[in-house]
Symmetry: C2
Subunit: 193 residues, 2 copies
């Protein structure tokens, strides 16, 4: 998606360890107009797909998923939570996710009330690298007997294995920008086309 | 706000310890159409107020704030983060918040890049009880020399001191539903009008 790539080139910053900082428009400060363009693009890419719910994971996915919902008939958005809270009682679907950026393993869960075999899910998230969070979300959907109809990712790190692993399962994955190279010394960012 | 109160009565559940569970439409599964009505209402309540940025806190505030932004000219939405991440470098404004539901103290921070003395901030959050999170957000805005132009809260627990404390500071606070009584035994929920 051209405007996302241009925005990454303009405002993104490369840090050692293959970190791409885009917190000025994607995952700390959020550009809602950009999210609307992303929503329109995913609507085009998933045109005709039966989607009745969007699933994402806290925290960075929530803003994107909420705006995207407005392009899919305002379907409910469920966000998977990362730690137990006193406000979530009852039964939950639960899985474990290893965080690339935070270097730790955490529990991820969704209340069983909000995923059912009738659900046709579009998963939305900001980043795809090793696929840990995404595989966790797929696991939650599968546990509920629901269907993953598609996955929309803002930025995929194409040099890490997550995207290929997910595509090899036959899942319809649409990453709006795929970064094939990050060079922290020169600041170079190269996209796949 | 009538439709929010009706929704709380229909789908909310009272739990011991003054807990109001609204996770089926507000803070786990999110009703985007309801958030749009809330956005319209806050736009009406803050009509004419100069707002160039929305500030919220992860995770439950993010979806609401993102939709609300679309009624305020798509102003940027910044969400305060609750724990240090490798993806946030550089200088941050930082404060401490005690969580009512999680019974612990955590650090809350915003990158200094995203709050400045030029900012006229609308703070958005899902709940106001003791005001701990909200006071933390106000503290961050004040630290940056920015101005809190208003605060929009979905559900205020009127029997807890947060709302009165904030109003006593002269801040323009608009809670869309104020709950004055929760009875876990009978399930009663009473609103202030």
């Amino acid at each position: 998606m051209k405007i996302l790539e241009e925005r990454i080139l303009k405002d993104g910053a490369v840090r050692p360890g293959n970190v791409l900082k885009v917190d000025c428009f994607l995952n700390h400060q959020m550009d809602i107009s950009l999210f609307q363009e992303m929503g329109k693009e995913w609507k085009r890419l998933f045109e005709g797909v039966n989607i009745n719910k969007i699933l994402t994971i806290e925290a960075s996915g929530i803003g994107i998923a909420s705006i995207v919902s407005t392009y899919f008939g305002n379907v409910p958005v469920v966000f998977a939570k990362k730690s137990e809270s006193l406000n979530v009682d009852g039964e939950v679907y639960r899985t474990k996710v290893e965080s690339f950026t935070k270097k730790r393993v955490y529990d991820v869960f969704v209340s069983k009330k909000y995923l059912s075999p009738d659900d046709h899910i579009l998963i939305i998230d900001d980043f795809l690298a090793n696929g840990a969070a995404l595989n966790g979300l797929i696991d939650l959907v599968t546990s509920a007997g629901a269907t993953v109809e598609g996955i929309g990712i803002a930025i995929e790190k194409g040099f890490q294995p997550g995207g290929d692993l997910i595509r090899s399962k036959g899942v319809h994955l649409e990453s709006l920008a795929i970064v094939d190279k990050l060079d922290a010394e020169t600041g170079e960012i190269a996209f796949r086309h």
